[in-house]
């Protein structure tokens, strides 16, 4: 494929273009198996859509009637995505090999804008395709334009707000630890061998994932979609609490996998035993998981859900957590 001439005047974009071409080249020709898999997935999606066609129309009507919340969700989503991507783009640029090249600030901004906004464009197009399919299957074409316009309006508004929002200072952009609880030593003058740091690491990682821009998204979604109309304020709070805890537990599940891998690599040259490695990493995380699951389950039961189903779900979650932790720790530990 020929390189467009205008790209030659934009070295940063040119480097991305060339990298992209190389990735495509390495991927090789599309294999028959991939085509068959895509066809099967497409067919399955079509069957599901046809099966749900009677519900689809009512969903389309509901989305159409509640276009203001749809707009609000689009604003929150796009602002969150752009804020996160913009931050990453700025950090990535500072670390990139082209950061020291004499490029104009306009060229740099253009590259960062493409990095920040492109994922949003793909997501918007994907949502439009899904809505188009829903409209085709259910015959709700008249509802389609307002929905697409609401999503487009929200996406553009949210992206614009996030793009022009001032970023944190550069040194703050890098520090994940600004969201974690600081640990004051009991006796700063002494050092003692201790594995407490390993236990703290997982929780710190989960806290750094729960940064405000991520947590805000969860709150908005929960408020809009998870709290049914007509519930009491107390029940609403219980639902909100359960979702917040659930968000933390999911972050903690993923943080143990990340930390196990990083700790395994870092501590590899030491004679640490598997028990000494896995115990501290898993123990506090498991304690948090058990306590959090119990608390979230209590919140869900308080909001009126059947207790037996909640208990089953909680137990299933704990089993999943233990299986994931065991596999992650075993795979990360190598002597």
């Amino acid at each position: 494929m020929q390189t467009p001439t205008w790209l030659l005047r934009q070295p940063a974009l040119l480097s991305r273009w060339l990298a992209c071409k190389e990735r495509v080249r390495r991927a090789g020709p599309v294999k028959a198996a991939a085509i068959a898999l895509a066809a099967v997935i497409g067919l399955a999606a079509l069957i599901v859509l046809l099966d749900f066609r009677f519900h689809l129309q009512s969903w389309m009507v509901a989305l159409h009637d509640y276009w203001v919340p749809v707009l609000a969700v689009a604003i929150v989503h796009s602002s969150t995505v752009v804020l996160r991507r913009h931050r990453r783009a700025v950090i990535g640029w500072a670390d990139s090999w082209l950061a020291v090249a004499p490029l104009s600030s306009g060229s740099v901004r253009l590259t960062q804008a493409i990095d920040s906004l492109a994922p949003l464009l793909w997501q918007y197009l994907a949502v439009c395709c899904v809505l188009m399919l829903m409209a085709m299957v259910s015959g709700g074409w008249t509802l389609f334009p307002r929905l697409v316009a609401a999503i487009a309006g929200g996406t553009i508004l949210g992206a614009a707000v996030a793009w022009w929002k001032p970023l944190h200072k550069r040194h703050e952009l890098r520090e994940a630890s600004r969201y974690t609880r600081s640990v004051a030593p009991k006796n700063a003058a002494s050092l003692q061998p201790s594995d407490r740091g390993l236990a703290h690491w997982c929780v710190a990682r989960a806290m750094s994932m729960g940064r405000p821009e991520n947590a805000r998204m969860l709150f908005v979604f929960v408020t809009m979609f998870a709290i049914p109309a007509g519930v009491s304020a107390l029940q609403g709070l219980a639902i909100m609490l359960s979702w917040t805890i659930a968000g933390y537990l999911v972050a903690l599940l993923s943080s143990v996998v990340t930390v196990a891998s990083a700790a395994g690599h870092w501590l590899h040259p030491t004679p640490m035993s598997f028990g000494g490695f896995a115990g501290p990493i898993a123990s506090r995380a498991l304690l948090h998981q058990a306590a959090g699951t119990a608390l979230a389950a209590a919140g869900v039961i308080a909001s009126g859900s059947p207790w037996l189903a909640v208990v089953k779900l909680s137990l299933s979650w704990m089993v999943l957590v233990m299986v994931v932790y065991a596999i992650a720790l075993r795979m990360s530990y190598r002597t």
Binding site: A188, P193, R196, P271
Partner: protein, 244 residues
């Protein structure tokens, strides 16, 4: 403890089909500062990865203080002090937590007060309770070195560990290593491009080329080169590279 802290015999290692190390032989005695030299991409870091047990060896034998790194890995690793690359340090732990965790991982009963003294000399103490992700490259490097020195290891493995250190800290560290070496408390294996270190501090050195040790300089030869000044060493390196 044997007087030999590291024995590498007939070491072969591959990345996929690409053979990076081709029969490396290397021996370091207690009290010896050994410098590994060579252009980029000849296998220096791969050799260090094999010596520290990070990378699986395909053939040959690596022993630390007489313990095989393959069959007696735990014993061998008790004798090892490795400075991780600065980017490998855990970003969400404080320096103190890193030291305490590493000490626990090395199964130490206590942390030597000498290490705290060194931390103070390196001006690291004020960073001790800050998270690693707030550190500069030099500060991370200091922490990596402190971790390597935990537990008075018999073999200290450093990969370009003086990069990023300010001159005062670099001199402090070099003197500390020299002092430990003079008491035969350890051996040092350092991969470096800095001829200054070879000239002023190393006892022995080797040039790696194409996955093999192409040339060795004995203690006497290094002493001769030292007398000849930096240019003598540069010329010797160039000549050895030419022959290799």
């Amino acid at each position: 403890m044997t007087s030999r802290v590291l024995d590498v015999a007939g070491l072969h290692a591959k990345y996929g089909a690409h053979e990076v190390l081709r029969g490396v032989e290397l021996h370091i005695a207690a009290g010896e500062w050994f410098c590994l030299l060579g252009p980029n991409g000849v296998g220096k870091s791969t050799l260090l990865s094999c010596v520290t047990g990070r990378m699986r060896i395909d053939a040959g034998e690596v022993s630390v203080c007489g313990f095989s790194l393959v069959t007696q890995a735990v014993h061998a690793k008790r004798c090892l002090g490795v400075a991780s690359a600065p980017e490998q340090l855990p970003d969400l732990l404080t320096g103190r937590q890193c030291l305490e965790v590493y000490a626990a991982a090395k199964q130490l009963d206590r942390i030597d007060p000498e290490l705290l003294e060194l931390a103070a000399q390196l001006k690291f103490t004020r960073f001790m309770d800050k998270c690693v992700d707030t550190y500069s490259l030099g500060t991370r490097q200091k922490l990596a070195v402190l971790l390597a020195l935990l537990g008075d290891p018999a073999l200290i493995v450093l990969d370009e560990a003086f990069n990023g250190l300010d001159p005062a800290s670099a001199v402090t560290l070099k003197h500390l290593l020299r002092e430990r070496l003079s008491q035969s408390r350890c051996g040092v294996l350092l991969a470096t491009h800095s001829l200054d270190i070879v000239e002023h501090y190393a006892d022995t050195a080797a040039l790696m080329l194409d996955g093999r040790v192409a040339h060795r300089w004995s203690q006497a030869e290094i002493a001769d080169l030292r007398r000849g000044g930096g240019e003598g060493l540069e010329a010797a390196l160039a000549a050895a590279a030419e022959r290799g």
